[in-house]
């Protein structure tokens, strides 16, 4: 059978080509990042964030003059600054900002120490995470739930949404950490010769 050999060649080629599933959007051969991630990696974004953070911290210092601001309060401020830098396009940024606004309203209403609420939130976060891990759901779904609780604002979201928010959240947090370390190093290293100069506020 002379016809067999070209036919068999054909089988291999066609099977390999048919195994690919094609999409309407063209295939990206290099694994390119979504544009949102590029945004968080840019230097400009980091500068914007650090300035915002700087001002917010100053503001915080003014509002809480006597006690040194808590680590928690600073963290809240930093997260809020990050959410502002995200311009509210993502779920987690909106959730962070709305958390702060809700807090403000509750404070106005009850005049009770509303600062305990974020304490509870962060405290319960860890416990719910551990509780979810212990449950007997299918493993992947369990982990997705855990992840959705970790990322703010994604508690009741579907899996693709959670994954997208996670990518953006991770990129944003990396930038946040970079900016904060830069800020710290800039403050701590020239702190020696800065103190020698004007000490306006004492």
């Amino acid at each position: 059978m002379d016809s067999i050999s070209p036919l068999s060649n054909q089988t291999t080629t066609t099977s390999s080509s048919s195994d690919l599933s094609r999409r309407k959007c063209k295939k990206k051969s290099p694994p390119s990042r979504p544009p949102s991630l590029e945004k968080w990696r840019s230097e400009k974004q980091q500068q914007i964030y650090s300035t915002k953070l700087g001002h917010a911290l100053r503001e915080l210092r003014i509002s809480q003059p006597s006690p040194n601001p808590n680590g928690r309060a600073v963290r809240e401020v930093a997260d809020r600054a990050l959410a502002v830098a995200a311009r509210g396009k993502t779920l987690w940024s909106r959730a962070i900002l709305s958390k702060a606004v809700k807090l403000k309203f509750r404070k106005h209403k009850r005049q009770s120490p509303a600062l305990t609420q974020p304490v509870i939130a962060t405290g319960s976060l860890r416990s719910t995470v551990m509780r979810i891990k212990a449950k007997g759901l299918p493993a992947v779904q369990r982990k997705v739930k855990v992840l959705s609780r970790l990322v703010p604002g994604c508690r009741k979201q579907t899996l693709p949404v959670v994954l997208e928010e996670t990518t953006d959240y991770i990129a944003a947090m990396e930038m946040q950490i970079r900016a904060m370390t830069a800020l710290l190093s800039a403050v701590s290293s020239p702190a020696e010769h800065e103190e020698g100069q004007t000490h306006v506020l004492g």
């Binding site: 066609t14 690919l20 997705v144």
Partner: protein, 331 residues
């Protein structure tokens, strides 16, 4: 005659690669050939289908041809009904369509092996074997054209099921610009499974992004492991942020002095990009006490080394704008 059936055209053109009009032409050519060459009533249909699918699997083809000729016209309508159903199976393993009762055990084994995967189509019980064998075939969503040609060939009674499929296919094809998914070899082709597959592809794409992002995820395979890594990474990032914020809180009194230098430089870079500062929230800015801002303005001038007079005015308004967000929230 066998060689004539397995024409060089079928060899040169793989079925999947042909465009639609080419396929039509090819089909018509072969139909004409087969009608002439074959004697029985049923076999033209069979052979048209066989050629139609453009068999890739030559050995099976040869064996089934031999089987067909042995059977002859013994099957009548049953056979045609079976083939009517098989039209969706656009691909070349024709032996699968011929399944039924004629084949020798070894070919049956081969066919069954190929056709392990399920099709979601419900069929009559008689055709179970045909279903199984047909399931293994490659399918396409572009089944509109084939359906048309096949309806010419097959009986109308058999095509009731196929018409549903083809109508689905037609509607899918008409939305050619929406999503074009080619079903892989041996997978079901009904709409639900295709949508499911598209959804799964999206999810896996997103997981791949995450894998690139999270360091150390490349070694782990499987969704659960990757998700574990992601969770750990997110938790560690959050812990880092907390740690850094505590450090910042400790050195906050000295923060102002150092920050000024940084912020000034960043200000300059920032303002080149943002020439216009919009004071867009006058109502909110009312809340902000201007007194400490004035103090800070003076602080800016005193501490920083660079010339800030030009930047100072817009910087203050920018400060008020950004701080208004925090102030209104904090108070």
């Amino acid at each position: 005659m066998l060689e004539g059936l397995v024409s060089p055209e079928s060899l040169s053109l793989s079925y999947a690669d042909m465009s639609v009009p080419e396929r039509l032409k090819w089909l018509q050519q072969h139909q004409q050939q087969e009608v002439l060459s074959l004697s029985s009533n049923d076999s033209p249909d069979l052979l048209q289908i066989l050629q139609f699918h453009g068999s890739n699997n030559d050995e099976l083809l040869q064996s089934t041809f031999s089987h067909f000729q042995m059977v002859g016209s013994g099957f009548g309508t049953n056979y045609n009904m079976g083939f009517g159903h098989s039209h969706e199976a656009m691909d070349g393993c024709i032996s699968r369509t011929s399944s039924c009762q004629i084949h020798s055990p070894d070919t049956m084994g081969v066919m069954l092996k190929n056709s392990e995967e399920n099709r979601g189509i419900s069929l009559k019980n008689k055709r179970k074997s045909e279903v199984k064998t047909r399931e293994g075939e490659k399918t396409e969503k572009k089944i509109k054209v084939e359906a048309e040609t096949e309806s010419n060939i097959s009986n109308k009674e058999a095509s009731s099921d196929t018409l549903k499929e083809t109508s689905k296919g037609a509607s899918q094809i008409q939305k050619l610009d929406y999503i074009h998914v080619r079903a892989r070899r041996g997978e079901a082709t009904d709409r639900h499974s295709l949508a499911e597959r598209a959804r799964r592809e999206k999810i896996s794409k997103k997981m791949k992004y995450l894998q690139d992002l999270v360091p150390g995820c490349n070694t782990v395979t499987g969704k659960a492991g990757v998700l574990d890594e992601i969770i750990n990474y997110v938790q560690s990032l959050q812990r880092q942020v907390e740690f850094l914020s505590m450090k910042l809180a400790v050195i906050n009194p000295e923060l102002e002095l150092g920050v000024e230098d940084l912020s000034v430089k960043q200000f300059q870079a920032y303002f080149t990009n943002f020439p216009v500062v919009i004071a867009s929230k006058p109502s909110v800015m009312v809340d902000v006490p201007l007194f400490p801002l004035d103090q800070q303005g003076s602080l800016n001038l005193s501490v920083s080394n660079t010339n800030q007079t030009s930047i100072d005015a817009p910087s203050e308004s920018w400060e008020t704008q950004s701080q208004s967000l925090f102030a209104s929230v904090l108070r």
